[in-house]
Symmetry: C2
Subunit: 152 residues, 2 copies
Amino acid sequence: MTEPRWLGAAQQRDWRAFVDGSVRLTEIMDRDLKAKHGLSVSEYEILVRLSESPERRLRMAELAEHASQSRSRLSHTCSRLESKGLVRRDNCPNDKRGVYAFLTDTGFEALDRAARDHVETVRDYFVDVVDPVDLEAVGRAFTAVLKRIDNG
Amino acid sequence: MTEPRWLGAAQQRDWRAFVDGSVRLTEIMDRDLKAKHGLSVSEYEILVRLSESPERRLRMAELAEHASQSRSRLSHTCSRLESKGLVRRDNCPNDKRGVYAFLTDTGFEALDRAARDHVETVRDYFVDVVDPVDLEAVGRAFTAVLKRIDNG
DNA sequence: GGAACGTTGTTGAAGGTTCAAGTATTCCGG
DNA sequence: CCGGAATACTTGAACCTTCAACAACGTTCC
């Protein structure tokens, strides 16, 4: 077996900062949303994506894609969101296999309330503590990562 | 209620790129480690932290801190790692409440094998696709986030 | 038309994480 | 040195995610 190309000291430091930072940051977002609004980050993400879609609805598969979740996970989570009254599902007329998920008015209101707090947390723990130049770099970096992941 | 300070378009784009990118990236790391070595990322992290500690051992509470996990979660995960023979636990002589977790030789070997693959994945999906200048910025950004989180 | 194959979405069970106690020990003021 | 408060770790149950299997429908091609 050939010797792997280990990371340089700086690369390792940067990579670790990201791993640690993102875990802890997500944890904070999660606690915050859950405490104030009874939503997990992934539930929140689902509501956001729906709210941004035309007519506030999306096919399950698309929603799963947008929210970076497996279809199975989305099914389960949607069931929960549905029983909370934030989301509803309907059959797709064109494709009888298909299902539309859409945001209810209650869901939209809940999202609106949650978003107001969430954006403050994002500022508080991320946007406002990171140098604006570095923030742009983070954007470029993860856009590159996403591109890498998307085309195999 | 006062109007929240919403994020600017660019800030939002950058923040989202991070959220999406980190979720998908972690998912890849997870699948990769699990498929090739039967380890989740969080198990891997535990082994790494132990391997870097003097005498390859750490108190449970410190390990939890280093690995960004709750103590409860660490207890459960350690039980699993212990049953795989990668980690063992012993009472702390000084503090009878305390427990040391330490890496077994088997654990060290498993980590060594896993790390060789893991570093390739990290390069493949992150380090090698991100501009070196941006990589440093990511490091700075998340170091700032960690600092913010640590001092309240 | 229909056989073979791919897609969509759901389900239940297995596995992992969180949460709220619970036990054991140490710390510290009086 | 005693009793209350704090700390270390574990446990079990509730909850969430993953995984494999499945039912239902669409697509292709003969």
